[in-house]
Amino acid sequence: MPESNRGFSAYFRRDLLLAYRRRGEVASPIIFFVMVATLIPLGITPEADSLKELAPGTIWVMALLATLLSAEGLFVSDYKDGSLEQLLISPNMLVMPIFGKVTAHWITTGLPLTLASPLIGLMLSLPSVAYLPMMAGLALGTGCLSFLAAIGAALTVSLQKGSLLLTLIVMPLYMPIIIFGSAVMQYSIDGMAWSGPLAILGAMLAVAIALCPLAIAAVLRLITIN
């Protein structure tokens, strides 16, 4: 296997294995996702047509919060047991293992959310035309969410009460994603072509994939071991 690829697949498989060993924990973002979805009808209005109005934005806000919830553990467990230190002094580029870890995080949180989203669509009486765009948008959007949350996780890895700070730091960076994510669904509900905002989400994901691992590697090298 080429040099850099080994770093990616080693940590990708390891994190998937870690998640598999604690299968129960993988379900928690989905449970959170569904639970919050039931709050909206209770809190605002149960009747269908106004729920239909709220559905796109609510689904995206919940997906965003669910990703944030599970992002904190990304580096903290490695930092505590010393494997982050070993990662920092491994000969291969630091970027590839990070890329592997964040992809594994996406598969354990972003993907399940995307697959569970039709259930929420049902509960919020989302029109059937919007299901496919919702899942397409969520698939790309949660990817960006994972990469950005990983930067926040790296910045706050050596802090005890890091999770609140993580939210504070990363939330502003989520704004563009939530705007275009809910726009994809809104366009499809209004019957317009929803490929435009989806393309922008794809572009954001591409930029996130290219730049975030570099930023995370720089942060981990600069800050953690002090």
Binding site: R6, G7, A10, D81, S83, E85, Q86, I89, P91, I225
Partner: protein, 212 residues
């Protein structure tokens, strides 16, 4: 000309928030030698190890590996060193074998994982999740990493902590075999080492931290 000194460090300085932790440390580590770093707690022993394994950036001074500046030969320097810190760097939900497979994927070695676990005295434990092992056994799994890779330079931070007499003996044998095979060891410990070619380097002189 094979440069016998694996590692040379001149005038190494490290400051944390303008408080000098390491001030002008100079030392060399030659092939087939054990260097023991002494000093009271907080004199910067672990910090020195972290700088030498490039986990920390020094504030000044230079580090040479086989006569070359570290930044120029970073890849083959990092492929030839092994660091064992206070923490055992094990993922507790994974089994001992899985934990060791990450090290071999990074630094391929000659001895297989199963043999290494046997030599460490954990024969049947290869597929047991680490959280079921005792603290001492987890430490042995970490020590098994010494056998699995053929890294030239070992940096051991308090290797004897949480080890019984047998464990200590095992570590000393490993170090013995390693330096005979052309490697070098730099370790920090408080216990006296019952072995020969041990040079001592005390950090007290160079850091402000001491002086009770």
């Amino acid at each position: 000309m094979v440069n016998s000194s694996l590692l040379t460090v001149n005038d190494l300085r490290f400051e944390r928030d303008d408080i000098p932790v390491i001030n002008g440390a100079c030392l060399t580590l030659n092939v087939g030698e054990i260097l023991q770093i002494e000093g009271p707690n907080g004199s910067g022993k672990t910090t020195l190890l972290r700088i030498l394994t490039t986990a920390l950036q020094p504030s000044g001074g230079e580090i040479l590996y086989r006569g070359q500046i570290l930044s120029e030969c970073r890849f083959d320097y990092l492929s030839n060193i092994l660091f064992l810190g206070h923490q055992s760097a094990l993922k507790l939900t994974l089994t001992a074998e899985e934990n060791l497979s990450w090290t071999t994927s990074e630094l391929p070695g000659s001895v297989s994982i199963m043999e290494a676990l046997e030599q460490v005295g954990l024969r049947g434990y290869s597929d047991v999740p680490c959280h079921k092992l005792s603290e001492g056994q987890q430490r042995r799994v970490a020590l098994a990493r010494l056998l699995v890779t053929n890294a030239e330079v070992w940096f051991l931070d308090e290797p004897f902590s949480a080890l019984d007499k047998q464990g200590v003996q095992f570590v000393e044998q490993c170090m013995e075999r390693h330096i005979k095979g052309g490697g070098a060891v730099m370790l920090t410990t408080h216990q006296p080492i019952g072995m020969e070619p041990v040079r001592r380097y005390s950090l007290v002189g160079s850091s402000v931290g001491g002086g009770f």
